[in-house]
């Protein structure tokens, strides 16, 4: 792997997370240090490893297709935890933004 420099703004955009301008230098420094460290993995010969190889000892467990509702959560608890609630819905700011 060649060590790239993380495009912090682009990745934060993908991760939907805002970081303050004054913190960017600190994040960039730590991320660079970690990325440099993980280059160690290049020392391993992984070419012969096939991620598609089936592990026969494991299978995906499927439960019986029955309607069981283990979580008898009351609406009042959901409402209590909701930051904004209106007319039985979670309330969010506009999705598209202002239309002139």
């Amino acid at each position: 792997m060649t060590k790239p420099k993380i495009d912090l703004d682009h990745i934060c955009d993908l991760a939907k997370i805002e970081i303050k301008d004054q913190d960017k230098k600190k994040y960039q420094k730590n991320l660079d240090a970690i990325l440099t460290y993980v280059q160690k993995l290049d020392e391993l010969d992984l070419d012969s490893i096939d991620l598609e190889t089936k592990n026969n000892s494991l299978s995906t467990p499927l439960r019986i297709d029955e309607n069981s509702s283990p979580l008898k959560t009351e609406l009042s608890t959901i409402i209590k935890n909701a930051p904004a609630w209106q007319d039985n819905h979670f309330k969010v700011p506009g999705i598209i933004g202002d239309i002139d």
Binding site: I17, K20, V38, L41, L51
Partner: protein, 491 residues
């Protein structure tokens, strides 16, 4: 008689059964100790005093009736605050969940309830279980009971410190890369990460789902075995829990250890193990040898790459799992957002702490277009190679033994600005998460400065009984687990 909170659950069980003491008296003894010493340790995020007192009174009635009760009935237990308890705040030590109240109980909590244990409080942790020192909690820094200037380890900082400080005889934690075992080692107690699938994670706030496992803390392997009896087993609500029968771990202790073979990976000693840790480990291995076991140095080359793998794989899973914290359905929500995108970004930016943010960014990067092959998929391949190495080693040896942590506890603040130095605290523990193998840390010595040292015993899948048996035998031969932090001796 010794103060009740200084006794083991094995001793307490007898006293409760023959009604020499009541659950309420026992609980008061712990509460008194907490009252006096919690301000020095900061292990708790919340103490459930009233609930616990009510529960203790109820269990006393059951004892008085003379009904046969489960072994741990009446024992207080503290719980890492990323495991859900109905109607209690589950914060994960994060601002983003500061006011979140759980609408349901985790499966392990139901099991505690069924066995009449008494949840006594929520313990502190590194935010979302991400850290090796406890310093990443958004609310407080838990101190090591052996020296308040030192970290207790992490991420189960509070769960480990609470047991070491005798605030409760037992606790529950979660382990993604060493979060149970490393603080157990640094606090001088027993911490077990069961096999992946042994204990249901339903109700555990997810960090890295292919690695997370819930497990017990106790002072002795015997007590950890009793608690594992309570929490182990298949759960239809966790598809990754295994339908494998649960033996009686406590009953099966006391087996002969003669002839058992131990492999000790040399690679860990090439990466800078503290000399006192190395000395304690060799001494422990020699002691076990006198009991008829044998040990030799082996090679597990991939173990050296544990932290590199973790920084890719665990972070990628974290980035994915933590995407659910969006400021809409629950948790912190930024007030100044003008549109939905801004709401996500501001809520997450203001709600998550530095370490969690770092991991989300790096995890998102590893999964992003153009980099996934070089990072995420490479880490997955390295894990397959590691599994093969461990599988081969465990064909020849009954156990793989390592120091739990390369160093004893370090000072608060010492590693907080050096992420790699911090991550390397988990160098010896992460492989058990990648391979899904069970592993226990037990006290095996003290440094000259009176800080505990831990030894890790890794066994084959679903062989918790076997590693606990070796641990139990070791504890019968040693007295490290009976030592107490100085402040407890003073009062």
């Amino acid at each position: 008689m010794k103060k009740l909170h200084l006794l083991t659950t094995i001793e307490l069980n007898k006293l409760l059964k023959n009604r020499t003491i009541t659950c309420q008296q026992l609980l008061h003894s712990y509460l008194e100790n907490i009252n006096k010493n919690e301000p020095k340790i900061d292990a708790f995020l919340e103490i459930y005093k009233e609930n616990a007192l009510t529960k203790a009174a109820q269990i006393d009635k059951l004892y008085d009736k003379g009904d046969p009760l489960p072994f741990l009935a009446g024992m207080p237990i503290v719980i890492k605050n990323n495991i859900c308890l109905k109607n209690k705040k589950i914060t994960c030590a994060s601002k983003i969940l500061e006011n979140f109240v759980s609408p349901y109980d985790a499966t392990v909590i139901n099991k505690l309830e069924k066995n009449h244990l008494i949840p006594l409080g929520a313990t502190n942790l590194d935010e979302f279980a991400m850290g090796s020192s406890g310093e990443n909690s958004a609310f407080k820094i838990t101190k090591n009971p052996w020296d308040f200037d030192y970290v207790p380890g992490g991420s189960c900082s509070g769960s480990a410190a609470a047991v070491a400080a005798h605030f409760a005889p037992l606790s529950l934690g979660s382990d993604t890369g060493g979060s149970i075992r490393q603080p157990a080692a640094l606090c001088g107690i027993v911490g077990l990460k069961p096999t992946y699938g042994r204990v249901s994670r339903f109700g555990l706030v997810a960090f890295a789902s292919s690695l997370d496992q819930i497990g017990p803390f106790a002072k002795t392997a015997q007590e950890a075995a009793h608690l594992l009896n309570v929490i182990a087993g298949h759960d239809a609500q966790d598809a990754t829990s295994a339908p494998v029968p649960v033996p009686d771990y406590a009953q099966n202790l006391g087996q002969d250890i003669k002839g058992l073979k131990i492999g000790v990976p040399k690679e860990l000693f090439e990466t800078g193990i503290h000399p006192e840790v190395k000395e304690a480990l060799v001494k422990a291995l020699e002691l076990l040898k006198k009991q008829g076991t044998s040990w030799e140095i082996i090679s597990l080359n991939t173990i050296k790459y544990s932290v590199a793998i973790y920084s890719i794989l665990a972070f990628a899973e974290a980035a994915s799992n933590l995407a659910r914290f969006d400021g809409i359905r629950y948790g912190f929500s930024a007030k100044d957002a003008e549109n939905l995108d801004e709401l996500y970004k501001k809520s997450r930016g203001q709600g998550f702490g530095d370490e969690v943010t770092t991991r989300i960014i790096l995890g998102t990067f590893s999964l992003s277009s153009g980099y996934i092959d070089d990072y995420y998929l490479k880490a997955k391949k390295a894990i397959l190679l590691m599994k093969k190495e461990f599988h081969e080693a465990l064909k020849k040896y009954d156990f793989i033994v390592t120091p739990t942590s390369p160093t004893p506890a370090f000072k608060i603040g010492e590693k907080i600005n050096d992420p790699i130095a911090m991550y390397l605290s988990d160098l010896a523990t992460e492989s058990a998460n990648y391979t899904g193998l069970p592993a226990v840390s037990i006290p095996c010595g003290f440094t000259k400065n009176n800080l505990p040292i831990g030894m890790q015993i890794i066994g084959n899948h679903f062989e918790e009984g076997k590693i606990l048996n070796l641990a139990d035998r070791f504890q019968q031969l040693t007295d490290y687990h009976t030592k107490m932090p100085e402040f407890l001796e003073e009062n």
